[in-house]
């Protein structure tokens, strides 16, 4: 469709570990429209980051993208050579990572690190790249930008570093911004500020955002459309209002019920009974069945497919088989 910026079809990224095969991303398909914020939620280890990194082909051995298409502006990124996809990384698609404390290189100044991306993707020399870096730091609301540009990451607070990361990510006007748990490591007040900043920037730049989080509160605030992942697969997807009002999959319902009033409560995701399955020994049938209170015989035998359960709302669960 014309208004799709990114379309992923049947993406599979596996890890060939010493202990065996880990299907980190196991047949995932979704789309991101222009200007849309896609929320990707799920417990830790369900394959959110690997899905995101597969888009840019940033998977290190023993991981490998086995199959799938990642169509970005009509080009299949999976088929691109390293030299060609490098021109997309940091330019039309850029990433903000979870840990502002460790995501910036400790031995280079903030200005050097932002300027590096600018010089690489825009035809600017060192002096102008520096000017642009200062401008970007101002854009993301860093005070004393003309001093901070010469400071090292350790001289900044976590929130300021994450702002610097965002400055770096948006410095080349990306069409898609992948934010992998951008606020998880931050204090609640700083979290709110960073989310506010991202929302404003997104509106100004008109970029699409793939917002990865395990925090449903963040999704509710930011996302237009939501996909829920479990054990490398999408188990439910819908527009944000529909999903929160009318969640179908027992896993999503569990996530919603365990969402506490206070946003950063580490315990909240543990309130779905049981644990994320060991990726080396996936259960038979529906991967969620050992933890599901609705599990039926068929759930243990055969895997449900992701299907429309009502208009614009898909779920992979035997409870809804034959609903439409």
């Amino acid at each position: 469709m014309a208004d799709d910026l990114l379309a992923i079809h049947d993406l599979r990224t596996y890890f060939y570990t010493e202990d065996g095969l880990v299907k980190a991303v196991d047949g995932v398909s979704f789309k991101i429209k222009k200007g849309e914020v896609l929320g990707v939620v799920g417990e830790s280890g369900c394959g959110k980051s690997i899905t995101a990194m597969s888009i840019l082909k940033l998977i290190d051995p023993p991981g490998k993208i086995i199959s799938g298409d990642v169509i970005f502006e009509g080009i299949n990124l999976i088929e691109l050579k390293e030299d060609d996809i490098r021109k997309i990384r940091g330019a039309s698609i850029s990433v903000i990572f979870q840990e502002p404390m460790t995501s910036l290189n400790p031995v280079f100044t903030i200005g050097d690190q932002i300027g590096e991306a600018i010089m690489l993707h825009q035809d600017l020399d060192k002096v102008n790249a520096r000017k642009k870096a200062i401008e970007m730091l101002k854009t993301v609301g860093i005070p004393r930008a003309d001093e901070v540009v010469d400071e090292y990451p350790h001289e900044l607070s976590g929130g300021m570093r994450q702002r610097a990361m965002i400055a770096m990510a948006i410095s080349c006007n990306p069409k898609l911004l992948i934010a992998d748990e951008p606020t998880t490591a931050l204090d609640v007040t700083i979290q709110a500020q960073i989310l506010e900043l991202m929302r404003n920037l997104k509106n100004d730049l008109g970029s699409s955002v793939m917002l990865i989080t395990h925090d449903l509160g963040v999704v509710a605030e930011m996302a237009d459309y939501v996909i829920v992942m479990y054990a490398g697969k999408i188990v439910e997807e819908a527009e944000v209002v529909e999903l929160f009002k009318n969640a179908k999959h027992p896993y999503t319902i569990g996530l919603l019920q365990s969402k506490p009033v206070i946003m950063r409560d580490e315990d909240r995701l543990n309130s779905i009974p049981g644990q994320v399955p060991n990726p080396l020994h996936m259960p038979s049938g529906c991967y969620f069945h050992p933890r599901c209170s609705h599990a039926m015989d068929i759930c243990r035998e055969s895997q449900p497919e992701l299907k429309e359960v009502c208009e614009g709302h898909k779920a992979a669960c035997w409870l809804y088989e034959g609903v439409i």
């Binding site: 840019l56 940033l58 390293e82 490098r86 021109k87 997309i88 990384r89 940091g90 330019a91 850029s94 990433v95 990572f97 840990e99 460790t102 995501s103 910036l104 290189n105 400790p106 031995v107 280079f108 590096e116 991306a117 690489l120 993707h121 010469d150 090292y152 350790h154 990361m165 770096m168």
Partner: protein, 331 residues
Amino acid sequence: MPGTITKRGEMMRQYITRRLIQMIPILIGISILLFFILQLAPGDIFSTMMNPHMTAEMKEELRHQLHLDQPAYIQYFYWVQGVLKGDFGDSFYFKQPVTRVINTYIWNSFLLSLVSFILSVIISIPIGVISATRQYSRFDYFFTVVALIGISIPSFYFGLLLIKWFSVDLKLFPVSGMMTPGVNFVGMEKAADILYHMALPCIVLTLSSVAGLMRYTRSSMLEVIRQDYIKTARAKGLRERVVIYKHALRNAMIPVITIFGMWLPGLFSGAIITESIFNWPGIGPIELLAVNNRDYPLLMGINLILALLTLLGNLIADITYALVDPRIRLK
């Protein structure tokens, strides 16, 4: 910004001055300790010197002249008195000023050690980096084995092996020494002659230090390439070469560079075994000679220089650490 740079330079100057001043009491302490430890060893120069022409009276007379008949602390004060005037005394064995003996041999050791040090750095760092970026590849396994051999093969054995192969069998290199005897080369020819003699001992020393440095670089690099900022660098669209040799190497070298300072005394201390095998006129065999002959003034001189170099090496390590890692502040 020029302001911060001068401020940093000023702080650095103060720091270095303070550290240098702190070295004085440390060196005094070390000299006392050394002096008395040496005194603990039984016997003196005359108990090992088998000179048939020397009568017991003559020995007593000489002992008296050298203050060897005095208590250790008196001897120490005599020694300090001399040192303060720049006189480290005369070597018992060489019957020459200690400074002259050291000066004659130490630069030969330095030359050999420096060349092999530079070679090891040039060889081992790229290998360490490539081994890390291609962990478990054939390249990595090959150099793991080389490192294992380098670490476990004794230098006397490896040295003799090289002499057998390259000097005796193939006649490619001289068996020993530092210059061709009986020929007076000058300028470039002299340098070439020395290099020619240096080749084999240099290989022995280089192999053993390459092994360690290579593994050290490799593990440091492996640690760094797992870091988040490397992912950030890749996600920016940088070439893999830039990611590795700019973003990763700069961080991986921090612990490696700091050990270079620690190597400073090693550049001057002489490789006793290798120098002995190749008859290299370095300070290593002289140290052995001094120990065997209870040549206290010479031992004190050599050890004090090495102590000073160790302290300087530590200081250099701390300074380089602060220079390469912006997170480190000199205090």
